[in-house]
Symmetry: C2
């Protein structure tokens, strides 16, 4: 009982470590070294071993992302809200490459838990669309489109060398405008 560690602190440390490595593949040994303890000691905090740690990392990541995008859309509506949310999401992924990878720790056995975890973040997306005049079904489609785009663009960007002839910023902006235009178009037609 010397180091003053607890589950929370360890997870945050693990997240940092993942981001430093740029990958979610962190080992008990690496994490223990990072914390100045021996690998077996980690089992006092995570009796479920690496699996439990991964799950916690995933949950922690979604909570953080949720917080970021929530903060970003406060006081904004419609296009402003969607735009802010998208930029915040992308920034998060670029800043947390390793953690974001851990957040993809989909299904297998824990599918429900994972879904609950992203739920918060996805819910923010839904709320951001609430100021538009869309049917529920349209909102669902739109959230899926936005989610897919963000997931795809950010991962590709995070894993690709940043020396493109055409800046990625411009492409992101372009894509975002395309999507917003699509939403506007939808509203026009449903009137």
């Amino acid at each position: 009982m010397r180091t003053g560690l607890d589950k929370e602190k360890i997870i945050l440390r693990a997240a940092e470590l993942a981001d430093k490595k740029g990958s979610s593949d962190i080992t008990m040994k690496e994490l223990a070294d990072e914390l100045g303890i021996k690998p077996p000691s980690l089992y006092k905090h995570f009796s479920g071993g690496l699996d439990e740690l991964s799950r916690e990392l995933m949950l922690c990541g979604w909570r953080m992302l949720d917080a970021e995008i929530t903060k970003a859309v406060i006081g904004k509506a419609k296009d402003d809200a969607v735009t802010a949310l998208c930029y915040a999401y992308r920034d998060f992924v670029l800043k947390h490459k390793g953690l974001y990878e851990a957040m993809q720790w989909y299904d297998m056995f824990q599918s429900k838990e994972h879904m609950k975890a992203c739920e918060g973040a996805v819910d923010v997306m839904y709320r951001s669309l609430s100021s538009y005049e869309l049917t529920n079904e349209q909102k669902i489609h739109t959230v899926r489109l936005v989610r897919a785009f963000l997931q795809g663009f950010s991962t590709i960007e995070a894993h690709t060398a940043h020396d493109k002839p055409v800046p990625l910023d411009d492409s992101f902006d372009f894509a975002l405008r395309t999507i917003l235009r699509g939403i506007a178009d939808m509203q026009k037609r449903s009137q």
Copy 2:
């Protein structure tokens, strides 16, 4: 020299195994078992071990995807081509969940090789846009948008339970139409 195996066959078998597991995390042991040989024997074909196997799997996957989408767009232009390409891409991912994961074996050390590998598939996307009247820069933005959307939508779909209230097919269709509308809009304005 009994089993008549060669690099090519082993890779294809590894791809099947990955898809069967729904994950790219296949071990030397699993693969050896699958092939009816002992793990050390694999090193006769892959002296670089698991790393080399992963790389080959990645390359193999991109070649396969390239072939699929190329086949899909033959004889088509504009919206028809893009639509066919998108559906083919999505089908591929859903059919090859494990292999597709292996294809994400980004950067680290081999970044250039990986880029070359996707290059073929990305090139098909560019060609599919050739029938539109777009500037080079616009094409680049568009390819990035399409790529991001496909990557994101497919991975999310591949990893999520298929029991949604609103069918994913409809959302895919909706998103695709939104993107095509965006392209049309762009052309209108640049005239």
